[in-house]
């Protein structure tokens, strides 16, 4: 082959393979290997941080929901406590009022009863004294002693007249 463009050149062929393989080895060892590893690592890092961010957001949402639930529950409980206290106090007030009323009533009743008793007793006393006075006056008037049986009959008769009809 005379044409220099298509001149076979085994030396160049072998040189090319040698040069390329050495270059491939060196680049793989010192450049591509570490670089590809670093790129993969970075990719993994980005993916991981995105995942982490996602997870953190979800957790945050969950925590927010939980805290909202807790706050809601606490608010409900507080409401319940307040209303219970309110009803308790109302009941207590009502009880106290009723008790006081009852006490007052019983005091009044006692007083009335005592007054009644006193009055009855006074009335009986007055009647007895009135009888004694009447007997004394009557015995003075008739000037004679009646027998105790006569006396008693007379007293009963007189009492009947004095005592108001039952």
């Amino acid at each position: 082959m005379d044409n220099a463009l298509v001149q076979p050149d085994p030396g160049l062929f072998v040189w090319t393979i040698l040069v390329f393989l050495v270059l491939l080895y060196l680049l793989k060892r010192y450049a591509w290997g570490p670089l590809l590893a670093a790129l993969d690592e970075r990719q993994a890092g980005i993916r991981k941080s995105l995942d982490d961010a996602d997870r953190a957001r979800k957790e945050l949402e969950q925590v927010q929901q939980e805290s909202e639930a807790i706050i809601g529950k606490a608010r409900g409980e507080a409401d319940a406590i307040v209303s219970e206290a309110r009803s308790d106090s109302a009941k207590l007030r009502e009880d106290l009022r009723r008790q006081a009323q009852q006490e007052a009533q019983s005091i009044v009743e006692n007083a009335e009863r005592q007054i009644q008793q006193e009055r009855d007793r006074a009335l009986a006393q007055i009647r007895r004294e009135a009888v004694d006075v009447s007997i004394m006056i009557a015995s003075k008037l008739i000037r004679r002693n009646l027998s105790p049986a006569d006396n008693q009959a007379l007293i009963d008769e007189a009492l009947k007249q004095i005592q108001p009809p039952a």
Binding site: D9, P10, F20, L21, K28, Y30, A31, P34
Partner: protein, 321 residues
């Protein structure tokens, strides 16, 4: 060797091809020879550095070997220092060139390697595919930059070293290594073996070869299919070889052909002014346009070689029939 008279005055019109025109033209300007001299390897008789042959293979450092070593060294130093500096940081914040490198690495890993090879083998094959891309792209790009032509011009005008001196040989090293089909064939051979290794890693050595043809067909089909698949095995790297080499050669030939107009016109009209005029108004604008196109081609070819290698490796791993 007499300096050709027509080359000298037009040196300022273009910085391409001038010194080579001077070297090859003897009496008349032979555009074909200049172009071929530019895009081909140094002749086996005049390598940059003579090395002894091993097993009958000449291991001398020719232009293209020199370019390969240069590209490999540049790629290794650039990428390794960038990556090391990046990884030494406390927090991995890419800056400067690392941004571009990270984009390339992630693009190749996620858009080329991953869809073809599958998630399981990404870390196995990404380094190879990445190295393919960086090496081929760098070789393509360095071939596109006429740095050595400029140095050659300096040598030609200032240093005046003798023919085939070490300086001259190194300075004339500026060609696209990937435009030589020996180089691309070697790269495709690596793909060829990578396919076999990928299939073996994924399915075992025997099963890899069985996977070449779909199973469960009538035996007469196999008589047809097995040779076709075996042919296909070699056609794949062959296509890789030719596509890259031809694309890299084509653009350079077009640029040199257009720049040759300068000398052809100067010769035809016997006037340097004609050459300068053509150079200013035709050759340089056209060459600039083609150079712009070449920038795209350089990227696309590196991408295509890389992508197809990944696709072939992926086909051996994920067998669909």
């Amino acid at each position: 060797m007499p300096q050709p008279h027509q080359a000298e005055p037009t040196e300022h019109a273009t910085d391409h091809a001038v010194d080579h025109g001077a070297e090859h033209g003897e009496g008349g300007f032979d555009a074909g020879e200049v172009i071929i001299g530019h895009v081909t390897n140094s002749s086996p008789d005049h390598p940059i550095l003579h090395l002894p042959a091993v097993f009958g293979i000449d291991f001398s450092i020719s232009k293209h070997v020199f370019m390969l070593l240069l590209v490999a060294t540049a790629v290794f130093l650039l990428i390794t220092t960038t990556v090391r500096r990046y990884l030494q940081q406390e927090r991995l914040v890419p800056d400067g060139f690392m941004n571009a490198l990270e984009f390339i690495v992630e693009f190749i890993r996620d858009s080329i390697v991953l869809p073809n090879v599958g998630a399981k083998y990404v870390r196995t094959w990404a380094p190879l595919i990445l190295t393919f891309f960086c090496f081929i792209l760098s070789a393509n790009v360095i071939g596109l930059i006429p740095i050595f032509e400029v140095l050659g011009l300096i040598d030609h005008t200032v240093l005046h070293t003798g023919e085939h001196s070490l300086v001259k040989n190194i300075v004339h090293g500026g060609t696209t290594a990937t435009a030589n089909f020996n180089v691309t064939a070697a790269l495709a051979t690596i793909t060829f073996f990578a396919i076999i290794i990928a299939g073996t890693l994924a399915h075992g050595f025997i099963q890899h070869w069985k996977n070449l043809v779909p199973h469960g067909l009538a035996w007469p089909v196999y008589i047809l299919l097995i040779p076709i698949e075996i042919m296909g095995m070699f056609v794949k790297p062959f296509a890789l070889t030719m596509r890259l080499a031809a694309n890299m050669t084509g653009g350079h030939i077009a640029i040199f052909a257009i720049l040759s107009f300068v000398f052809l016109f100067a010769q035809a009209f016997g006037s340097n002014l004609a050459g300068i005029g053509v150079g200013l108004f035709v050759s340089v604008p056209l060459a600039v346009g083609i150079n712009g196109l070449e920038i795209i081609v350089v990227l696309v070819q590196a991408y295509v070689f890389t992508l197809l290698s990944a696709v072939f490796i992926g086909m051996a791993i994920n067998v669909h029939h």
